[in-house]
Amino acid sequence: MIQVELAGLKLKNPMMNASGVLSVSSATLIEGAKYAGAVVTKSIGKDERPGNPNPTVVWYEAGVLNAMGLPNPGIHGFIPEIREYLASVKDTPLICSIFASTPEGFAELAKIAEDAGVHAIELNLSCPHEKGVGMEIGSSPDHVREITSAVKKVCRVPVFVKLTPNTDNIVKLASAAEDAKADGIVAINTLRAMHIDIWFRRPVLASESGIGGLSGPAILPVGVRCVYEIYEAVDIPVVGAGGVSKWEDAVEYILAGASAVQVGTALLGGNWQLIPSMCERIEEYMKKEGINDFKDLVGAAHKA
């Protein structure tokens, strides 16, 4: 097992699920905790929200598109799930993803989640398809700074900021988060995208704009580039996410500078077992390459 420390959290391995993937029900998160170093919840807001009507997901050759529309039971409706998780899992940190439209909104949610016992907070500043939240507020360094700062003022647990690649400069966003004392960066969320059904002659996703977020193998090189750039600019840890479906992809992120890696689309079918199988192969790789300490692998592509 490659144990890692991430912003003060002890992880039994450096892999976790990406928010939104297998992350609504406590029973699913508890199952995930058997395999992952940490588990991340679905993005939770203040109030209950049904999300978009279906179709919310499209799977085709290039990857998976989604426009779930941030469905969630609201923070108070989600607390029982948090409590059930904490009552049964002791060795795997629970990271609560939250979304809001204002710094005060984020701070309020973060505090409620922290009081409920979560081990860390992830700020969703990157959902690519919903109005007034996500990347609409997370594309501006000033907003990232204000939101992060507001949350850091009320929270003691580590705060990660999940950034959008749908911007001309993700590095500025990362630096803004670091300025505001974020404990870590998560990069990247999905890429804004659309799929059109040629027989019905319309966008498939039922979001208002027809736009969703692209995930899966297609976005791996975008994510690796983002992590590589961010790693050069900030000193806080970076969690790599986007398009990881095999162990080599995770190693790419680590070499680019990721201290931990999130897996999303590849967990399709409830496939948590992918995580330990990737970890085993990463350990083999380290042995083969004569690397004893995982830390020596992090960012190693920059030293070459």
Binding site: G20, V21, L22, S23, V24, S25, A27, T28, I30, E31, K42, E48, R49, P50, G51, P53, N54, P55, T56, V57, V58, W59, Y60, E61, V64, N66, M68, P71, N72, P73, G74, G77, F78, P80, E81, D197, W199, F200, R202, V204, A206, T265, L267, L268, G269, G270, N271, Q273
Partner: protein, 275 residues
């Protein structure tokens, strides 16, 4: 590990409705309609599998496959916005479908005496199973409904199996729930295998009766399904997912899940009690 779902199952096909069949008399308040369309999939569905039915601009909902062959059918109970709109479609209208999805029923071994228990529109997913095993297995089909005018598929079932009717109000057949009748005959008649589909409380009763009589059994669950590919967690039950691990689960799996018959996730993901 064998993948539980594949890309081919998630391609949306545009199909044309070839036939529509009203399953209940016009005088009934409930509206249940069967829509038939040519099989657009590369594989023939297995009994118990479902399709995601897309009505562009409205929604996409899971529906059981109620006929298997060159023509496939879905049977929809007009209860929500989308199901009402689907049930209102006429011959020649178009729908998007993806599938066939999920794990279907385990077929009985040849010669096994089989019990099928349905409540309400649950009969839709059991009917193709009854049709597929009719030549190899004696089938007792317990068809439950609130009242005699709400019994669906009666004619099709009468011709292929030993049909036992149950109505909540006693307007025909056994007065009471299908699960009560099933419990009685599981104890008095010999069955090698049982299947159930219908309201979850009813299915739970059948699973308990099956366990008490050491009868292998399976039940098919209904949940709010979004992605249908085991990623969004909307249909989580225990650590399993109805869309890819189900909708059919075996007796012991069902009875081991604390949520079975008790709670489910709403569209938002809020845990709610099952009525």
């Amino acid at each position: 590990m064998i993948s539980k779902t594949s890309l081919a199952q998630h391609i949306r096909h545009k199909v044309t409705i070839e036939n529509v069949i009203d399953e209940l008399p016009e005088s009934t308040r409930r509206h249940v309609r069967t829509l038939e369309f040519r099989n657009p999939f590369t594989h023939e569905p297995r009994p118990g599998q479902f399709v995601m039915v897309w009505l562009p601009g409205v929604d996409e909902i899971p529906l059981a496959i109620s006929r298997i062959g060159d023509l496939l059918a879905i049977t929809v109970y007009a209860v929500g916005d989308c199901s009402k709109k689907i049930a209102a479609l006429e011959k020649g209208a178009s729908l998007g479908v993806r599938g066939p999805l999920g794990r279907g029923f385990t077929p009985p071994k040849e010669g096994e005496r089989v019990l099928m228990v349905s409540g309400g529109t649950g009969a839709a997913s059991l009917l193709p199973l009854a049709e597929s095993v009719r030549r190899k297995n004696p089938v007792v089909f317990v068809l439950g409904a609130r009242t005699r005018t709400e019994l669906i598929f009666r004619k099709r079932l009468e011709s292929i199996c030993d049909l036992r009717i149950c109505t909540d109000d006693g307007s025909e057949g056994f007065k009471g729930f299908a699960s009560e009748y099933a419990d009685k005959i599981l104890h008095t008649e010999r069955f090698n295998r049982a299947y159930a589909c219908g309201p979850e409380a009813m299915m739970k009763q059948v699973m308990v009766s099956a366990k008490n009589t050491v009868t292998p059994a399976e039940g098919s669950l209904d949940r709010y399904i979004k992605c249908a590919m085991g990623i969004c967690d909307a249909c989580a039950i225990g650590h399993l997912h109805v869309c890819t691990d189900g909708p059919v689960f075996d007796r012991d799996t069902l009875l081991s899940i604390p949520e079975f018959g008790v709670s489910r996730l709403s569209q938002s993901g809020l845990r709610e009690k099952i009525p």
